[in-house]
Every structure is written in structure tokens, then in C-alpha cells.
Assembly symmetry: C2
């Protein structure tokens, strides 16, 4: 499957509130989100599964691949397109073994060493960050900055998505690192108009003005 990593939305139901979650998600997808990660840190397995079924249906409607954060069992149960794991999740080689070669395996890295490790152990793409300081992930480590982001992208043969503190104000310099896309939580979901927020970021990312740099 050819995956468009350019505008990768990571969900945070707590940020939006459960009631408006699916509505916000739909608007963001209408605005041009290209890849979707369902992240549920507080839900029990049944609630995760139930919301996952709805999100999967919606993602399919927009032909956007659905990636599940951390929970390999949910990814398998939902037959999602992939799973995204970080340093505090199951070991990457164990996960690859569980999901097989067809499903997308994403891996969070915050250093060049972790990036090379991830590539060697079979990640399909890397989520690198936090690029800038951010308050939207509880367990966010220190910002890695643009230089490390570029070094990571230059050192691996994998799609790299930047995550953490990325928004319209710094999109140009982020794109100049050569990475494949941006991973966004609050810059889309916490906006009053997720459609406009997604569309604005997606258009900006794809625009010639940025491409030509």
C-alpha cells in the first residue's frame, strides 16, 4: 500500500471530548488528513474496540489508513492497517512478529540511535520528535530540534514524520529537513474548526512555496 504520510493525525479523545470526537475527526478528514492514528490511553479494551470500529469505518470512507497506537491486540482485533509503538510499548521485533509483514509498523524515536535501531528491526516509518516543546503528550521527552530531525531523515531509508509542536508558524522550516510529513494532534483537533486547520496545514505542506525550498 502506498501511504501518504504528509498530514498524519494522531487522535486524542480527551482533548476534544468524547461527544465531539467523531465529528471533529470527520471534519479533519474532510480537511485532508492523509493518515490516522487512533490513540486511547485511558479507555478500557471494550471502549477502545467500540470507538475503533467507528473510526475504522470513517477512515475507510475517506480511504485513509488507520494505525492503532500501542495496542497490538486492538490493531489485530480491528484489522487496522497498522500499529504505532514507542519506547514504552512492546519491543519492535516482538510487534513485527505479531502483525506480520503486511501491516504498517510505525516507531517513535527521539534520537538518531533509536531511529537506526527502528529501521534495523523492521519499522515501516518513524515518528520523530518531539521536534519542538509541546504539552500535548504527557510522556514527551525533551525537544529534539530541527537538526536532529534532519539527521534522522538523512540517515534512514524510511519515511519520517515529525511530531511535536508543529504548526503553521514553523511548517516551512520543518519541511526543509526533507521529512515526509507532519504528525499533528492539538494543532488540528483542539481547533474550533478542524476542517480549516487540517486544510490549512495540508495546503501549506503541499504548496510550491514550501516545496521549492
Amino acid at each position: 500500500m502506498a501511504v501518504d504520510y504528509s498530514l498524519y493525525l494522531v487522535t486524542d479523545r480527551i482533548l476534544v471530548g468524547s461527544k465531539d470526537f467523531l465529528l471533529s475527526l470527520r471534519k479533519a478528514l474532510e480537511g485532508g488528513v492523509t493518515l490516522l492514528q487512533l490513540r486511547e490511553k485511558e479507555a478500557n479494551s471494550r471502549d477502545f474496540y467500540e470507538i475503533g470500529l467507528k473510526v475504522k469505518e470513517m477512515a475507510a470512507e475517506f480511504r485513509v489508513p488507520l494505525i492503532i497506537n500501542d495496542r497490538v491486540d486492538l490493531a489485530l482485533a480491528l484489522d487496522a492497517d497498522g500499529v504505532h509503538i514507542g519506547q514504552k510499548d512492546l519491543p519492535i521485533e516482538v510487534v513485527r512478529n505479531m502483525i506480520g509483514s503486511d501491516k504498517i509498523l510505525g516507531y517513535s524515536v527521539s534520537s538518531l540511535e533509536e531511529a537506526l535501531w527502528g529501521e534495523r528491526l523492521g519499522a515501516d516509518y518513524l515518528g520523530a520528535g518531539p521536534v519542538f516543546p509541546t504539552g500535548s503528550k504527557k510522556d514527551a521527552s525533551e525537544a529534539i530540534g530541527l537538526a536532529t530531525l534532519k539527521k534522522i531523515k538523512d540517515s534512514v531509508n524510511l519515511p519520517v514524520v515529525g511530531i511535536g509542536g508543529i504548526g503553521p508558524a514553523n511548517l516551512k522550516e520543518v519541511k526543509e529537513t526533507g521529512i515526509d510529513g507532519i504528525s499533528i494532534i492539538s494543532a488540528i483537533l483542539s481547533q474550533e474548526d478542524p476542517y480549516a486547520a487540517a486544510k490549512g496545514l495540508g495546503d501549506l505542506w503541499k504548496s510550491r512555496e514550501i516545496n521549492e525550498y
Copy 2:
């Protein structure tokens, strides 16, 4: 695999404290625990996996099957002997599909209806309760009592383990319902001497005095 359900220990690392957890567990296994369920509600996936590897090794040493609570991915990653799910976990038919027919599938029920449902959808054993009121499970529903426990056991062709508030004081009446074993958390793990607690309960369960009733 012939499974002895008589003294089924469900872990609670928070009850014991992480530091003494493996030591308490070893003592309980020495005391005669016949089946072990690893239950980690707060740990991240990596910590769950790491503790799971240690617990699996210990369980194997005692030739006691290891069941993982809720997290099918951890059960698969650890190649545990089975998984135990409740009403707030993944749907039972989804779980059976994920783990195949060889792994043990346990199912928590608190009514006859749920018990029949669980049997129909492929559970290998039922954990029925809470039999008596208890404070050791956050999400414990109202006590089902001995009559419902007996009705469940009489209505299914599966091993049934009673859980919730079971201890030396009520073991005799619990056994009179005809169930196959007792599932214990705090009556073993929170005791100063988990060896003696397990041995006492196990001996009592197997004793002729009780059997003859």
C-alpha cells in the same frame, strides 16, 4: 493441557508493591497455587512485558499455567498459556479468533446469562463473581452470592472458578456449590506470609472434610 483450577492466584502488583511482587509470588507458588493470572492495569506495555517475562519464567519453574488478564497482545507476545477477559475487554469471539483454539480463554461472568453466553462463544473456563462483597477489584459489581454461583456451575459444562471475597472463613460453603476452584487476590498476596496463606487455602480446599460435604 489438563488445568488444575483449584487455587487460582490473580496478581495485583499494586497490592504488594513492585519491589516485593516477585518474592510474594514465589512464596504463593511454593504454597501451592495451581494457576496464575497476571493482571496489570496501570503498567505501560513495556513494563507489562518485562514483568511478564519474569513471571512466565517463574510459573514455568512451578509448572503452573500463566494466564494474562485483558491484554491479548501481551498474552501473544509472552506466549502465555491463555488470556482472561471480562465484560469490559475485547469481545470473547474476537479474542478466541486472535488466540486460536490451543490457548486457554477465561471469561469473567456475574450472571447466569453471561455464563451461558461465555460458554456458547468459546470460553474454556468461567470466573464467576464477585461471590461475596470485596474491595480488591475496583470495578467489582454487586456480589452474586452462593446461589447464583451454584446455578452457574450447574448450568454450564465448563470449569467454574469463584472470585471475590473468598477466604478460609467461607471456603466450605463455596466448595459446596460444586465449583472447580477459587480465584484469590488479596487473601494470598496481601498476607504477610503468602506461602502459608496459599498452603492453608489449598489444603483446606482439597481436604476430605470439605470434600465429603
